[in-house]
């Protein structure tokens, strides 16, 4: 059908269940935003009634609240603490199974690859998708593509929902990642009062749309979509000035602002955990008590961890200011050298979920405004 034209189609509000059913029929384990402990989280859903409803999110630096009222929308909450990261880069996963007989003995290693079925995530945001594209470069773009990430990534289907609403911590417009999806997705929805404008951008997405046999979206719906996205874009007033940002940060590695933020920063690592692009991880062996086997496991780690840059007793980044600088300069500057893209997608999670509300846009502005100290 529309594979050649790629024309946007129209999904009635009630048709969302049909989409869910179609995904399940294709053996996708569908995850969508559900209410959980005062926020939303991507969890398995079978019925659209399970999706978060009746609330919207209010976010500011260090504060997240769900408040009543969804304006009749299914995807009224912009986002929760987790992006797509856990689906492709697991918080904790085994890498190697080792059979051994203690130190010094011979041993055998068997790689443990994830045995994931197909996963579809409904309700990811354009910034989440942009972050996924960034992590694709990190994990798959070099000489040693990560087999664990690759296996999970291959099985992931993304159904992004374009943003017609923002929160105060959003700055995707500065990073060029929203409010409408630009990076590769399978399906994209733009929600309106009575339904969704739907687009497919992959073979898998087109197949699913084909099976749903939807009508083309009317001109009026597309006009409304443009207006809604524009309004959302205009509503985002937080900004990160990215002009020569990499150079600005490299030039200011000794700026007094690092000491200042070092005083406020708890060094707890929350920003790195919620960041959809942060990829640092630790790996360690977990031997069995009988000494016959050991499992090598990796798990999310943080550059704020006091051991992160420590090597036999010497800590290269001994102060919290060093760690904050490492995180921010990596994210906004050295990431570009490493992966040809910024490490920031402007989702604002690091502001919201920082227990003390440190705002990286403000930190950068201070460095930009203050000149070299």
């Amino acid at each position: 059908m529309s594979e050649s034209s790629g024309a946007p189609q129209w999904l009635e509000r009630g048709g969302l269940q049909q989409l869910l059913d179609e995904l399940r029929a294709r053996e996708y384990d569908v995850h969508g935003p559900v209410l959980r402990d005062g926020a939303i989280a991507f969890e398995p859903v079978v019925d659209t009634a399970e999706l978060a409803s009746g609330v919207h999110d209010v976010q500011e630096a260090g504060r997240y609240r769900l408040e009543p009222g969804d304006g009749g929308r299914t995807f009224a909450v912009v986002h929760g603490p987790a992006a797509l990261k856990p689906f492709t880069f697991a918080p904790r996963e085994p890498l190697l199974q080792v059979q051994m007989d203690g130190p010094g003995s011979s041993f055998e290693c068997e790689p443990v690859l994830p045995d994931t079925g197909r996963v579809a995530v409904l309700g990811a945001r354009p910034c989440d998708l942009a972050a996924l594209a960034v992590q694709d470069r990190v994990f798959l773009g070099d000489r040693f593509p990560d087999p664990h990430y690759a296996a999970r990534r291959e099985n992931l289907l993304t159904i992004v929902v374009n943003c017609t609403r923002s929160v105060s911590t959003c700055f995707c417009t500065s990073m060029g990642t929203g409010p409408e999806a630009r990076s590769a997705y399978d399906l994209a929805l733009t929600e309106q009062d009575d339904g969704f404008v739907v687009r497919a951008r992959s073979d898998a997405g087109r197949e699913i749309l084909g099976a749903l046999a939807l009508p083309e979206a009317e001109e009026a719906a597309l006009d409304r979509e443009r207006i809604d996205l524009e309004a959302c874009r205009d509503g985002i007033d937080r900004a990160l000035d990215t002009t020569d940002l990499r150079e600005l940060l490299y030039e200011n590695l000794s700026h007094a602002r690092w000491d200042d933020v070092g005083e406020r920063c708890l060094g707890c690592g929350n920003c790195t955990m919620v960041c959809p692009t942060c990829f640092c991880h630790d790996q360690r062996d977990e031997p069995e008590l009988d000494g016959k086997a050991s499992l090598r496991v990796r798990q999310w780690d943080s550059c704020f961890d006091p051991d992160h840059a420590r090597i036999h007793g010497f800590d290269f980044r001994a102060r919290v200011r060093d760690r904050y600088r490492q995180w921010l300069v990596h994210k906004l500057a050295s990431w570009e050298d490493q992966f040809g893209t910024s490490g920031c997608v402007g989702c604002g999670r690091c502001l919201t979920w920082c227990p003390v509300g440190i705002d990286l846009t403000e930190e950068v502005a201070a460095i930009r405004g203050g000149g070299t100290a």
């Binding site: 203690g102 929350n270 008590l289 009988d290 999310w300």
Partner: protein, 264 residues
Amino acid sequence: MSAVAPARPRLAVFKFASCDGCQLQLLNLEEELLALAERFEVAHFLEASSRVLEGPYDVVLVEGSITTAHDAERIRGIREQAGWLVAIGACATAGGIQHLRNTAAVEDWKREVYPHPEWIEVLETSTPISDHVRVDHEIHGCPVDKHEVLRVLTRSLLGALPDPPRGSVCVECKRRGQVCVTVARGIPCMGPVTRAGCGALCPSLGRDCYACFGPSRDADPAALANRFRELGLSPHDIARRFRGITGGDPVFRDAAQALEDSDG
């Protein structure tokens, strides 16, 4: 540890001022407990068995804090018998909740609490094991995480030093995909300054961390105290958070003291 693990090392568990909860964690290992008894010769573990073998011991786990002159003497004797001595739990590593008496006059308390205060012979303070003898390793928590005890013992069998959990409770909390109680509900949580190791247990139950694993390395209590103030706590209330189970740790003790001083 210089200890090259012998084929079946001798394990001993000793108790000082404590609630036995950490020893109980060992017993809670259940299935692994049998395997543990195969890998180690359990030479002294009164909570598990009345069979007592004389030292020396290869690995000694010590629960509890030092609160009496007699105990101060006893721990020195144990140290002499111990190849590798591990303090387990908040009492043994930070003085436990009973450290609260360190900031009060013990004689006054005795008179208030006991009908015969003259029968109570205690030191002025409750102090961690490391204040008295050399401690080779500390396992934190109230109680300790049984899996961590098992990991430490397993690594000791491989002749390897422990590789304890790193970072703050927040990192564990986020790895579990939990929602931050401070950010989403305004609840003052000690997680950001607390050593990882519990798997963010309290936040998983929707409540705040109360720092029973003690301060994380390089923890900055002052920055967190500022945040607690914004959340409506008085300096006095904040000081009480730091004076909890691990309040005997110098980092938390000093933070609490500073807050109390600022409160006039």
